[in-house]
């Protein structure tokens, strides 16, 4: 009796800890994006009397060749990355839901078309596809956003398609059909509760990929304009000063970028652990 109580205690504690972790991560990410929006103007302020300073009390991350504060620039860039990542992941997940469920429900022709589309997109290396799309749409903010939104839906769509096909074969759905329930009712009552957690965790796990790819494509020069403080641009600028030993220009912005990506990743894992009935007890 006593051991069971202790077990329960521990379980609640772990669930609570995971929840607390989720809240903390959300607050952190929100704080970064809010700070970046507030510092939008300051990120462009140049002070040539303080250029190329290594990290010090006044400038924690040092300053760049125009005397701009790297902490401010980094946070502004990350803020942009986070907002862009959330936006593109949302669009991508919506695509995945429509195409994945459509492929499973709308019959053979639709299934063949969607499967072929997925094969086509997975057949080209991701970065190359991003280059093609962002070039096709004229680079810049729109090109990057569209590129990331259009290329991240494939695996989630495949997952959802498989899930719907499996659900349609399941006993309870077939029984509901025999009982005379319409497709709308079955979709709402029997399928949606299974699909929503999948879609939700898939969406959150997309965030980290979106942020990572946004930084990569911007780094290559296909993304935002060079004067905008995006994280990829900061890093590609830092490359020119690397051989002069200005290590802080790359290390801190890149390190924070990795941290944000990992935060999104942990968020996805925690939400997944809480939502998935198989691991809900942790």
């Amino acid at each position: 009796m006593k051991t069971r109580q202790r077990d329960n205690c521990q379980r609640d504690n772990r669930r609570a800890k995971t929840l607390a972790g989720i809240v903390l991560i959300c607050v952190l990410l929100f704080a970064i994006s809010a700070a970046g929006m507030l510092w939008k103007e300051e990120a462009l302020v140049a002070d040539f009397s303080e250029k190329n300073l290594p990290p010090c009390g006044a400038h924690w991350f040092g300053t760049d060749f125009m005397g701009r504060d790297m902490l401010v620039r980094t946070v502004t860039g990350l803020s942009l990355s986070i907002r862009l990542g959330v936006l593109t992941a949302l669009v991508s997940a919506a695509f995945a839901a429509v195409l994945g469920i459509g492929a499973a429900v709308l019959g053979r022709a639709a299934d063949a078309v969607v499967s072929w589309l997925i094969d086509l997109m997975l057949g080209i290396p991701h970065i190359l596809l991003l280059i093609l799309i962002s070039y096709g749409l004229g680079k810049g903010f729109f090109g990057v956003a569209a590129g990331i939104a259009l290329t991240h839906w494939t695996s989630l769509a495949r997952l959802l398609r498989g899930e719907v096909l499996q659900l349609a074969e399941s006993r309870f759905v077939q029984m509901a059909r025999k009982l005379g329930h319409g497709p709308g009712y079955i979709a709402r009552i029997h399928m949606l509760p299974h699909l929503l957690p999948q879609l939700f965790t898939g969406l959150i796990l997309l965030f980290s990929h979106a942020v990572l790819h946004e930084a990569s494509i911007t780094f290559l020069g296909f993304g935002l304009a060079p004067e905008q403080p995006a994280i990829g641009i900061i890093l590609s600028e830092s490359m020119q000063y690397l051989s002069m030993g200005y290590w802080w220009l790359g290390l801190f912005p890149g390190g924070l970028l990795v941290l944000v990506i990992l935060l999104f990743f942990w968020l996805g894992r925690s939400v997944c652990a809480l939502l998935d009935p198989a691991s809900a007890h942790l």
Binding site: W116, D119, L120, L122, G123, I124, P125, H126, I127, L128, I131, L132, I133, Y135, G136, L137, G138, K139, S208, L212, A215, S216, F219, L220, G221, F222, L235, S238, M239, L242, S243, G245, W247, G250, L251, G254, L257, V258, I261, L262, F265
Partner: protein, 358 residues
């Protein structure tokens, strides 16, 4: 007659006779012929789709190749005729459908057009770049696969131990690190701070081509290769570990442990065999990832390979080269998946009946 039939039946059933049976071999060859034809048709369809999609995507582009490559100032000083000639050189005045038809006609006869930036046939540019990056990417692909497989099985077999925690933690950290940032870090540590390895390019600067030896090339390929292997490893590692965990929780492993088999014997005899198949799929499916990673890594190290050419072509609006690289890498990715299909049958006897090759 009856006797012979029963004989052949027994040979089929006993493992070694299976390989001697001629009728079986013939049917198998016919089947693998059909398999190859089917896959070949799929490849053609895929390449057609990829090239068409890429072509129309590129032709949508509002980026003016003249503005990017010639520049506003130079354009302003030119006569209308000169501008018109340049426009037709960059293909800015051909309608997309006509352009694609011309490209496809050329591609079918083995001519991928002329690169606009390098002013040479696309095939020769790609051949030269591929020669540089082929060994780099192939070595990184093998290293990341082997390393990911070894560390993944180790971590999975020793779940919960210190070793598992360190390996998994490092893999998670690496998977969240963009390949280009990893390249920047390696570059600043090993080339700039320590000065052990060259900063970039594939050969020493200012050296005549005849003087460049294998050693020079190797030294220049160490950091890009290491970076590419490291960035490709976590994906394979984490998934292999996941598979290994599933295997180690299975009933047959529990039984083997109860029988008194040592941990090592269980991991090798039951773990490795069951993990090999998914690991093989992952390894061959990772061809695309390595190719994608090489775009970023080559850019950081100024390594004159195919990936860097893709970036140059994309930034400069060199449509024929970009199309050529896209089609080439799509075929490479397809061949990777095909190899996985073929190897299934060789590695796992159970799959041979399912209609694969062999």
């Amino acid at each position: 007659m009856r006797k012979r039939m029963s004989e052949s039946e027994t040979t089929v059933q006993s493992g070694r006779g299976f390989w001697r049976d001629k009728a079986l071999w013939r049917s198998r060859w016919l089947r693998s012929g059909g398999f190859l034809c089917r896959k070949g048709a799929r490849l053609l369809l895929l390449l057609l789709g990829v090239s068409a999609a890429a072509f129309f995507l590129v032709s949508l582009s509002p980026v003016d190749p003249l503005q990017t490559n010639v520049g506003q100032a130079a354009l302003g000083s030119m006569s209308q005729e000169q501008i018109a000639r340049l426009r037709s050189y960059w293909g800015a005045d051909t309608p997309p459908l006509q352009g694609y038809a011309a490209w496809l006609r050329g591609a079918l006869s083995g001519d991928l057009g002329t690169s606009l930036l390098y002013r040479r046939p696309v095939l020769s540019v790609m051949g030269e770049k591929l020669k540089n990056s082929l060994w780099l990417t192939a070595a990184a692909w093998l290293l990341s696969g082997a390393g990911g497989f070894a560390l993944g099985t180790l971590a999975g077999a020793k779940q919960g131990t210190q070793a598992d925690r360190v390996i998994t933690g490092a893999a998670l950290l690496l998977s969240g690190t963009p390949a280009f940032f990893l390249a920047l870090l390696l570059l600043s540590v090993f080339s700039v701070q320590l000065g052990w390895l060259p900063v970039g390019l594939s050969v020493p600067i200012g050296m005549a081509a005849e003087q460049v030896g294998l050693g020079h090339r190797l030294v220049h390929a160490v950091l890009p290769g290491l970076c590419l292997s490291l960035s490709g490893m976590p994906n394979i590692l984490l998934q292999v570990r996941e598979k290994m965990l599933q295997v180690m929780e299975s009933d047959f492993v529990l039984f083997a442990r109860a029988r008194g088999d040592s941990w090592r014997a269980v991991a090798v005899r039951h773990g490795l065999r069951n993990v090999a198949l998914p690991a093989l799929t992952l390894q061959f499916a990772s061809v695309g990832e390595i190719l994608g990673g090489s775009v970023l890594v080559e850019q950081v190290f100024s390594y004159p390979g195919l990936g860097q050419a893709a970036v140059t072509a994309g930034l400069g609006g060199d449509v024929p080269l970009l199309l050529g690289i896209t089609v080439a890498s799509a075929s490479l990715v397809f061949c990777g998946n095909l190899m996985a299909d073929v190897l299934y049958g060789i590695v796992d006897p159970r799959m041979r009946k399912a209609g694969g090759l062999l």
